[in-house]
């Protein structure tokens, strides 16, 4: 086995890589880089990824970071991976690149910003920032709207009208799953209006079962801890990890 995946399951793009490998039967060793323990800042991990972020992979002696680059590399390097994950067709492939690029400054920016400023902040020693959270929520909601009105258009259940999922579905849905950490009523307010998005999340989950739920189980555990800390009225210094 030559592939090592350096990841923290609290990190959305880490989860996308792990699920992709498991679904496609790619042999790999998962090395946990615990963000809550600041392991991403160690000199050893810096050798792997000088940007000090997860996920990163090492395949033989080949090092790579940035989850979209990793997903594409894995889809092209390992045998037996179904074409729908990263189609050979130039037009379909270009559209996948387009939505993955759009993701950086839209869904990811909005979702990560919202979760951090409304919920995770105190776990990282940062104050909650309702103003920043509201700004991020606006971008997040606009992004979900764009997914419904544009990216999910077409005859299939997945992005770009596809009948099967691609790496883009996995990447974006793992991002949306981070909302599992926030209050039920907030999640309902943000996601509730977007029925088509919710169906697409469920379809992606089903297409990658049982791995999707298994990899996401960490979110539920962390959420329970966050809620119990909240009930006791503490700020969660040591519950939660990541700079997400």
């Amino acid at each position: 086995m030559t592939l090592t995946v350096f990841a923290d399951r609290m990190s959305q793009p880490s989860r996308a890589i792990i699920i992709f490998c498991k679904v496609n039967g790619i042999d790999f060793e998962e090395v946990r880089i615990d963000l809550s323990k600041r392991q991403h800042l160690s000199p050893q991990f810096q050798e792997i990824n000088p940007m000090k972020k997860v996920p990163a992979i090492v395949d033989g002696r080949f090092k790579l970071f940035e989850s979209h680059a990793i997903l594409i590399y894995l889809a092209c390097s390992f045998p037996g991976i179904a074409d729908h994950w990263y189609p050979a067709d130039l037009f379909l492939r270009a559209k996948i690149h387009s939505v993955l690029d759009w993701h950086h400054s839209n869904l990811r920016s909005g979702a990560a910003g919202y979760v951090l400023n409304s919920t995770l902040g105190p776990a990282l020693g940062l104050p909650l920032n309702p103003e920043a959270a509201a700004k991020s929520e606006k971008l997040l909601s606009a992004s979900l709207g764009k997914i419904e009105s544009f990216w999910l258009k077409g005859r299939g259940r997945f992005l770009l009208g596809s009948t099967q999922p691609s790496i883009a579905d996995l990447s974006l849905v793992c991002e949306i799953m981070q909302l599992e950490l926030v209050d039920e009523k907030d999640r309902e307010r943000i996601l509730g209006p977007h029925k088509r998005v919710m169906k697409w999340v469920a379809d992606t989950k089903n297409a990658t079962s049982p791995h999707f739920d298994q990899v996401h189980s960490v979110l539920l555990k962390v959420k329970e801890k966050l809620q119990s800390k909240k009930a006791i009225g503490e700020t969660s210094q040591n519950v939660l990890p990541s700079k997400l």
Binding site: E66, Y73, S77, L90, A94, S98, D101, H104, S105
Partner: protein, 238 residues
């Protein structure tokens, strides 16, 4: 099949696409979408790109937006494009993807944060935002340092130690060229600590000559115009 490139030369990723096409002899029609006049917000343009941004392309009846996706598509679809722009080797290609992805939230974010909030905003009737500009400058400077310490390597003059440029070199250098729209003193302050970046920019310019300079010819007049707007804005506030 006809290729149309919808662009505004004020937009960094627009310039990247234009230079790439010209440098590779790709025939296309440049359709100007004037950002200053709000043409990107029209219903007609939204039909081409619902995100209402430039650049976008239409090739036959295939529509595409997001400049990195466009660069990859053009490099793959046109047989005359030299291989060094988008290597066929999976690992070399992966590295190109990695730097293009890193670019979104680092160099581009920092560069826009600085130059838009410091100067370019005036072209859209938006006042200067010194706090946002300072934040952008911090990220921009950190990104330039990262390009020097990591992305530019010993083996060759271009990103990832390559002997010849890739689409990533063009995309990132066009971004840094946006500093030409602002004050020369600001540009010198930000760039002068990074001698290797300055050399790399020259190398990319030479590798895509004469198109790089021709497409960037707009920056001089834009800088002068924005300087005027800045003076007017200061006079107004006094």
């Amino acid at each position: 099949m006809e290729l149309k490139v919808y662009s505004d030369r004020l937009s960094q990723p627009s310039r990247t696409i234009l230079i790439f096409c010209k440098a590779n002899g790709i025939e296309f029609e440049e359709v100007k979408i004037d950002l200053g006049k709000g043409q990107h917000l029209s219903a007609e343009y939204a039909a081409l790109n619902p995100m209402k941004q430039v650049p976008a392309i239409v090739h036959g009846d295939f529509k595409l937006f997001e400049s990195h996706a466009i660069l990859i598509y053009l490099a793959s679809a046109f047989p005359g494009v030299a291989h060094h722009w988008y290597p066929a080797d999976i690992r070399e290609r992966a590295k190109v993807h990695a730097v293009l992805d890193w670019h979104h939230t680092n160099l581009r974010r920092g560069s826009i944060g600085f130059i838009f909030n410091n100067t370019v905003c005036l072209a859209f009737g938006i006042p200067v935002n010194p706090v946002a500009a300072a934040k952008g400058e911090k990220l921009l400077s950190a990104s330039l340092a990262r390009i020097e310490s990591f992305w530019l390597q010993e083996d060759g003059p271009f990103l990832l130690g390559n002997a010849k440029p890739t689409i990533a070199d063009l995309a990132l250098v066009c971004e840094i060229m946006q500093l030409e729209a602002g004050d020369k003193d600001d540009r010198d302050r930000i760039l002068s600590p990074h001698k290797r970046v300055v050399k790399w920019m020259e190398d990319v310019k030479i590798a895509s000559a004469p198109h790089f300079e021709e497409v960037h010819a707009i920056m001089g007049p834009v800088r002068d115009k924005l300087k005027q707007l800045k003076i007017q804005a200061i006079e107004k506030s006094e």
